[in-house]
């Protein structure tokens, strides 16, 4: 994650979206939503609630159904079954204008023949609003996205980050009740991404617009959203606050998807797991006698001296990471490689070099009851 937000543009002005307090903002309720494309289930009986004023990330790999869910909310797809309600009213049966949802497309879909000003004005022009009102609103939004001087540019004359902001301003122009963003930062380079993430978060904090965005990048979801919905194969795997989902994954998919994880074969005995020739405590576990345990790289500790329950390992490669070191190790006793992330102090104290012999201990190991990729495979 990055904390390079100081250079990001600050949302200027106030009350640009719908200036409703957080508790009055609309609430999205999705019930039993199913969408098939041929025999492929893009969404399979998905139910979800988004609190008014919330900022929710739909997080999942490609093909997990997150974009389909977003497109149904935007009215671009019809569900085969189920309903999507906004403040208790069915979204699907409403016309686009009644629905009044703001959508930012992955590749922005700016009108290439219209300049920035007319792109932002579009939603107001098709509503036949008075010219003075259109002009005031467009200027307000141009100020918000800090592109006041570029109103007459065509989209093709803008940078990726500028296009992204124009797409956002265009979506906000008609004061939508809900803002939807499809991979909003996907097409940008890392620096611009980091800036815009922080900007979007602050924008949301100012206008309290109920916002749903789709991403496959867990860092992005963690940084921007206050709630995460992890999706996989058309179903919701887990919903919760970013820290909750990261600390307490419900299953092995969520565990694997939210960052790197060391997966080790183990034999279970009571509240302990035996991995190779060492034993670690795993808490309560009832079920198969064989399976897998999951250990995050930052939950692996490295020591120079052997200790109880420590693996002998050899350093393969040390890479600097933001805020620490990434250490790749080979572990002969289990016949596989592991990764450990150390903070700077620990890393500096150990002064690891490639080829060093060290000892690993696991601060925490997780086991999942319904391990789809573990036991039995």
């Amino acid at each position: 994650m990055t904390d390079d937000l100081t250079r990001a543009p600050r949302p200027a002005g106030k009350a640009v979206g719908v200036p409703t307090p957080r508790d009055l903002a609309p609430l999205i309720a999705v019930r039993g939503l199913t969408k098939r494309f041929g025999t492929f289930y893009a969404l399979d009986d998905v139910s979800l609630e988004v609190a008014g004023g919330g900022l929710v990330a739909l997080l999942g790999p490609s093909g997990s159904g997150k974009t389909t869910l977003l497109r149904i909310l935007a009215g671009l797809e019809r569900p085969d079954q189920g309903s999507a309600l906004l403040d208790g009213l069915d979204l699907v049966s409403q016309s686009a204008r009644q629905r009044n949802v703001g959508l930012v497309f992955q590749h922005y879909a700016l009108f290439r023949h219209l300049d920035v000003y007319e792109n932002i004005a579009f939603a107001l022009r098709v509503r036949k609003r008075p010219a003075a009102e259109v002009d005031a609103r467009v200027r307000e939004l141009l100020a918000l996205i800090q592109l006041e001087s570029l109103g007459r540019r065509l989209p093709s004359q803008l940078s990726g980050g500028q296009r992204q902001r124009v797409a956002l301003a265009r979506a906000l122009a008609a004061r939508p009740r809900v803002l939807l963003l499809d991979e909003p930062f996907g097409a940008l380079d890392a620096q611009v991404r980091a800036e815009l993430r922080g900007w979007l978060r602050r924008l949301h904090d100012e206008i309290h617009l109920t916002t749903v965005f789709v991403t496959h990048d867990q860092d992005e979801a963690f940084e921007v959203a206050d709630r995460i919905v992890v999706m996989n194969r058309g179903k919701i795997e887990q919903t919760g606050a970013p820290a909750d989902v990261f600390e307490h994954p419900d299953n092995d998919f969520v565990m694997r998807f939210l960052g790197h994880v060391n997966v080790l074969d183990a034999e279970f005995a009571g509240s302990h797991a035996k991995i190779g020739d060492i034993t670690v405590a795993i808490g309560e576990h009832s079920g198969e006698s064989r399976g897998r345990i999951y250990v995050r790289p930052h939950e692996v500790d490295i020591a120079r001296a052997p200790g109880a329950g420590a693996f002998a390992a050899r350093v393969v490669r040390v890479t600097p990471l933001s805020g620490g070191l990434k250490v790749e190790l080979s572990v002969p006793s289990i016949g596989s490689r592991m990764r450990a992330d150390l903070d700077w102090e620990r890393g500096t104290a150990l002064a690891l070099r490639d080829g060093d012999d060290v000892f690993l201990s696991l601060r925490r190991a997780r086991v999942f009851a319904h391990d789809r990729q573990g036991a039995g495979s």
């Binding site: 671009l76 497309f105 700016l110 009108f111 008609a174």
Partner: protein, 277 residues
């Protein structure tokens, strides 16, 4: 596809390049330049006065009028049909879509004479619906409606063929954006789709109009060659030629050549704008 021969050609020995270029230039010269010069040479052989006389002849003026009228009716019909068909093909997947794509090209594949005969078969006095129409006082064959029908038939592929690849390449995202932003179907078409396809549409219109004005075979079958009434420019040229009035025939023909050259220039200009979109 375009790059490959160009790259290969630069690696050929000079003498091969020269021969290939010479063949190209000689072919164009023999089949395009020489006939063009011959047309204008013959047209002005009797001097400017004879040229003016041939053009100002009432039968010639009537043919000019009819040609523009038929093209002027066929063109808007083809714009409406072409945009609708291109839209359906590019945006929707429906049963019969591939049949529609194939059938759009039919007028390019079938001989225009056969197209004309089909209309005679349908609307002629011994045709399927001709007697019923003539009982109600509608004359199609040997009259303007027949000429317009035949012209529309032979020219309807041009607009659709130009727009289908354009619409497919541009995708539907901007239209989707417009709809989510609250635009109606018509607003989306006028404000988003039309500006994107206007140069392609114009290119199709130029092709369609040029072909409409030059069409001979299909129109010849349905027109009846009634001088001063159902003769278009190409038919008038043929009649003059058959009556051994060569100078007049070439004078009128030169008008068609000018129209063709104008449409070529228009195509060049518009094609650049199409590529830019």
């Amino acid at each position: 596809m375009i790059d490959t021969p160009a790259i290969a050609a630069t690696h050929e020995p000079a003498w091969i390049r020269r021969i290939v270029i010479a063949i190209g230039v000689a072919f164009v010269g023999l089949f395009v330049i020489v006939p063009l010069v011959a047309v204008f040479g013959e047209a002005f052989r009797g001097g400017l006065a004879a040229y003016g006389h041939a053009i100002a002849d009432p039968a010639a003026l009537s043919a000019i009028q009819l040609t523009f009228l038929a093209a002027g009716i066929a063109m808007p019909l083809n714009v409406v049909f072409g945009v609708a068909a291109a839209w359906a093909i590019a945006r929707f997947r429906f049963p019969g879509r591939s049949i529609l794509i194939t059938l759009i090209d039919l007028p390019l594949a079938v001989s225009p004479v056969i197209a004309g005969m089909v209309f005679v078969l349908l609307f002629g006095q011994q045709g399927l619906i001709g007697p019923w129409l003539s009982a109600h006082g509608v004359k199609v064959i040997f009259a303007l409606p027949g000429i317009v029908l035949a012209t529309t038939f032979v020219t309807f592929p041009f607009v659709a063929r130009e727009l289908v690849p354009l619409l497919e390449a541009q995708g539907a995202e901007e239209e989707e954006a417009a709809i989510v932003l609250g635009a109606s179907g018509w607003q989306t078409f006028v404000r988003v789709t039309l500006p994107k396809i206007k140069w392609g549409l114009l290119y199709g219109v130029v092709l369609c109009t040029a072909r409409a004005m030059g069409e001979f075979g299909a129109v010849s079958v349905v027109s009846g060659h009634i001088r001063g009434r159902t003769n278009t420019l190409p038919l008038h040229v043929e009649i003059l030629y058959n009556e051994y009035e060569y100078q007049a025939a070439f004078a009128v023909a030169s008008l068609l050549v000018v129209l063709a050259l104008a449409s070529l220039v228009a195509r060049r200009v518009i094609a650049r704008r199409v590529e830019a979109t």
